[in-house]
């Protein structure tokens, strides 16, 4: 059945015809009811889950649009205010933006037993739900750095940058926080741990670290040896790349753990469809599929060797509004831009 459906879904892949902001569009299913999903998640990673959902809901035609987080935020904001082409479901890794949208009354309220079972850090107001578990990790090139040399914590990374500047110069990468809402969120999360963050920025500045875009590209470049170390990369993308040359480290001092936030826009045309997708995503079946895609990482100490006290879940809470504060952003950008040689060309 699945084997049959995958080619079918592939046949239905349509070229993007909408605005330039969206990166890719795929359709799943052929039902009479349209369901528009906008997400920052790569289609390649989420595909098995969406196919399973389409199979279970033959009445739906799911249009899955992949967006950059900032573009998606701007578009959702406009859609909320003007009612112009709202999606039926939005989920993004830039959860501070989703919290902002919910705070601005842009979300539709929904509750079911599955949602009530979520821990409080993974839901807010019954309007925003965390559907994945993804750590922010350090990745390194296994061929150039062996396991002993690889930094297992931020302190080790700081030491490495101090002691071996020549080796690492221009070969440490992280997200460009201006281009990536997720990168900004991780940088904001780090900035709350004030001392380490300041030292890190200084260290990055000293070795001319590169701020660039997009998980897949960063991981690819690490695998190719262009970068030796990439800091604060979303673990799910690494797991998905499954490249033997890439090693993954959950920083032992603390590891930020993100849960992609899912929201049903207030003026969604098919909010019921959005609710069905949410129920499905939180169901054990979908969570298993997401785990296989690396989107639900097992964070228990036995699996990761990470002490529970080192896990920093980014909670879906109004406190995340601070991350969206214009002054705060401006300040973080100032600090960042002073330190980084932003790589614009890809």
């Amino acid at each position: 059945m699945i084997r049959f459906l995958i080619p079918l879904a592939l046949c239905l892949l349509m070229p993007g015809t909408r605005t330039a902001a969206q990166e890719a569009v795929t359709e799943f299913g052929t039902g009479p009811t349209p369901l528009l999903v906008r997400s920052t998640t790569d289609i390649g990673i989420i595909r098995p889950v969406m196919e399973q959902f389409a199979e279970q809901n033959p009445d739906l035609t799911i249009t899955y649009e992949q967006w950059g987080s900032n573009a998606l935020f701007q578009h959702s904001k406009t859609a909320c205010k003007t009612g112009d082409s709202p999606a039926d479901a939005v989920f993004s890794s830039a959860v501070q933006q989703m919290v902002w949208l919910v705070n601005a009354a842009c979300a539709h309220r929904y509750s079911s037993a599955l949602m009530q079972a979520l821990p409080p850090a993974r839901r807010w107001r019954d309007e925003l739900w965390g559907i994945t578990t993804e750590p922010a990790v350090i990745v390194y090139n296994k061929d150039r750095l062996d396991d002993l040399e690889a930094p297992r914590s931020r302190f080790a990374l700081l030491d490495a940058m101090r002691t071996r500047p020549d080796l690492l110069r221009g070969r440490v990468a992280t997200y460009d926080i201006a281009a990536s809402g997720l990168g900004y969120l991780f940088a904001y999360g780090d900035s709350l741990e004030a001392t380490t963050f300041g030292s890190l920025i200084e260290g990055f500045a000293r070795i001319d670290a590169v701020a660039t875009c997009c998980s897949a590209e960063i991981i690819r470049d690490v695998a190719r040896g262009r970068f030796l170390i990439a800091y604060n990369v979303l673990g799910s993308y690494v797991a998905n790349a499954q490249d033997p040359a890439v090693g993954v480290i959950l920083p032992e001092d603390y590891t930020l753990v993100l849960s992609r936030a899912y929201m049903i826009p207030r003026n969604a045309a098919n909010s019921a469809g959005g609710q069905r997708l949410l129920d499905f995503l939180l169901s054990p079946t979908a969570q298993d599929l997401l785990a296989r895609s690396g989107l639900v990482a097992r964070m228990d100490a036995a699996e990761t060797g990470l002490a529970p006290s080192a896990r920093r879940f980014i909670p879906l809470s109004p406190a995340l509004l601070v991350a969206s504060d214009p002054n705060r952003r401006a300040e973080l950008f100032n600090l960042w831009n002073d330190a980084f040689d932003v790589e614009t060309a890809r």
């Binding site: 205010k81 902002w100 919910v102 705070n103 601005a104 009354a105 409080p120 807010w124 107001r125 019954d126 709350l192 809470s317 109004p318 406190a319 509004l321 601070v322 969206s324 504060d325 214009p326 002054n327 705060r328 300040e331």
Partner: protein
């Protein structure tokens, strides 16, 4: 289909009153608890708002002549104490210039005039009711001088939840207490009404012809009143039944002898109408029938008096009028021709409460006795003597023998001197009347005659007063 409502039981009435009181009380207390809870929640969360606003105000600094906000996470963690509430914040410089905030497009204007201290106000936040605080901070730096305004707001979910929680915490024990009170009042009502039920059972079991008093020992005072009234009523019924029985028995007994005598006289007269014996028999026949008439009058009068004593209402009666009427109606010319009767009454009325008819009958009997058995001159009068209303009849004779006056009022105490035209019922009527109206019969023997008086407690007021 229409069904007539069942009569309410006392228990149901008392209980519904208790329920009504409890519900009313509950509503009042509930309202007060709600108001208190709302106030408590408002104060608690207003403090959070103010705390957050103060945190933000503290974080404003002047950098190159411009105010910059280094937004503290702690402020938002304070606000996140209301975890599900939406937040608004904005920091504006002089002239309302936007420094930082959630959304430059959402403007929440505080009510005018603005004060120089923290100021709370209510407004809608994205279509949801919310509460805000406005906190100004004044700067007087070299390169920046003026007021920075911090507005922080929050929707009301947590406040409502807290109000509801406080209310529930207070109302639940109250509801339990109410239920307990209800159960207790049921038991109390049942136990209070148990004597009534016992009495009802007693009455139901009672033989309908049993007119003896109902026992009221150990019953509550309220019921004793009722039972006393009932016993009085039954006593009257009993007395009336008894007097009826007496009347019939008396009538039968009294009529047998005269009727037999009349028959004998009539037979004699019939046997030889023209003989002197026959004529004498006719005379006797006439006398006998006349005295039979008197007897019937008295029997009826006594029955009437006894009936009225129990049933006629007590009204103010002027004893002077009673005396006057007795004098006018009395056929003393027939009983004792030539005897003069004097009426001695004063100017002032002599009020008693009683039944005019019974008093009149009693007086007529006294006057009749005086005329029949006493000596002229006879006088009748009424007067007030020291709080006693007295109606008296006096004659100049020696009065009856002591043995007669001692047995006064017994039915048919006819003695040898009574004669065949007397039944002995007269004084019985007098005595019954006196007793019925709380009076006494007094007989006084003086040198110049014999006086019988009826003494009653004087009524203070006449009719219509």
């Amino acid at each position: 289909m229409f069904r007539p409502p069942l009569p309410h039981s006392l228990t149901a009435r008392v209980l519904s009153a208790v329920v009504l009181i409890l519900v009313l009380g509950g509503v009042l207390v509930g309202l007060s608890i709600w108001a208190n809870g709302r106030l408590a929640a408002r104060q608690a969360y207003d403090r959070l708002l103010l705390g957050a606003a103060s945190d933000i105000a503290e974080s404003v600094r002047i950098q190159e002549g411009q105010p910059i906000v280094d937004l503290p996470v702690s402020a938002f963690e304070l606000l996140a104490q209301a975890p599900d509430d939406r937040i608004y914040y904005a920091v504006r410089g002089p002239d309302g210039r936007f420094i930082t905030g959630l959304d430059p497009d959402t403007v929440i204007a505080p009510p005018q005039p603005v004060s120089q201290s923290a100021q709370y106000f209510a407004a809608d936040l994205n279509g949801e009711p919310a509460r805000f605080v406005r906190l100004p901070r004044l700067f007087a730096e070299r390169d920046f001088s003026g007021e920075v305004e911090i507005v922080v707001g929050q929707t009301l979910l947590a406040r409502r939840a807290m109000t509801a929680g406080l209310m529930l915490d207070a109302l639940l024990p109250m509801a339990v207490a109410g239920a307990l009170l209800l159960i207790m009042s049921w038991f109390v009502t049942r136990s209070a009404l148990r004597p009534l039920e016992a009495m009802s059972d007693d009455l139901i079991r009672r033989d309908p012809y049993d007119l003896t008093p109902v026992a009221s020992d150990g019953l509550p005072r309220e019921l004793q009143v009722m039972i006393a009234a009932m016993n009085r009523f039954m006593g009257r019924l009993d007395r009336q039944v008894l007097s009826m029985r007496n009347l019939i028995a008396d009538t039968a007994h009294q009529l047998r002898t005269p009727v037999a005598a009349i028959r004998v006289q009539a037979e004699i007269a019939q046997a030889d109408p023209d003989s002197p014996a026959g004529r004498r028999a006719l005379d006797r026949l006439l006398n006998r029938t006349r005295s039979l008439g008197t007897l019937l009058d008295q029997l009826l009068s006594r029955a009437m008096v006894i009936h009225r004593i129990d049933s006629a209402p007590r009204l103010p009666v002027d004893l002077r009028e009673v005396a006057l009427e007795a004098l006018e109606q009395s056929d003393h010319e027939v009983i004792a021709p030539g005897v003069e009767v004097h009426l001695k009454i004063g100017e002032d009325p002599v009020w008693v409460r009683g039944d005019a008819f019974s008093l009149g009958e009693a007086t007529k009997n006294l006057l009749g006795n005086a005329l029949r058995h006493g000596k002229a001159p006879v006088s009748i009068g009424a007067s007030l003597v020291g709080g006693q209303a007295v109606l008296w009849v006096r004659d100049s004779g020696p009065g009856p023998e002591t043995s007669v006056s001692a047995r006064l009022g017994d039915r048919f105490n006819r003695n040898a001197g009574s004669g065949e035209d007397s039944s002995g019922l007269g004084l019985s009527i007098v005595k019954s009347t006196a007793e019925a109206f709380d009076g006494t019969v007094e007989m006084t023997r003086t040198d110049d005659g014999f006086r019988v008086s009826l003494n009653f407690p004087a009524a203070t007021e006449g009719p219509g007063a």
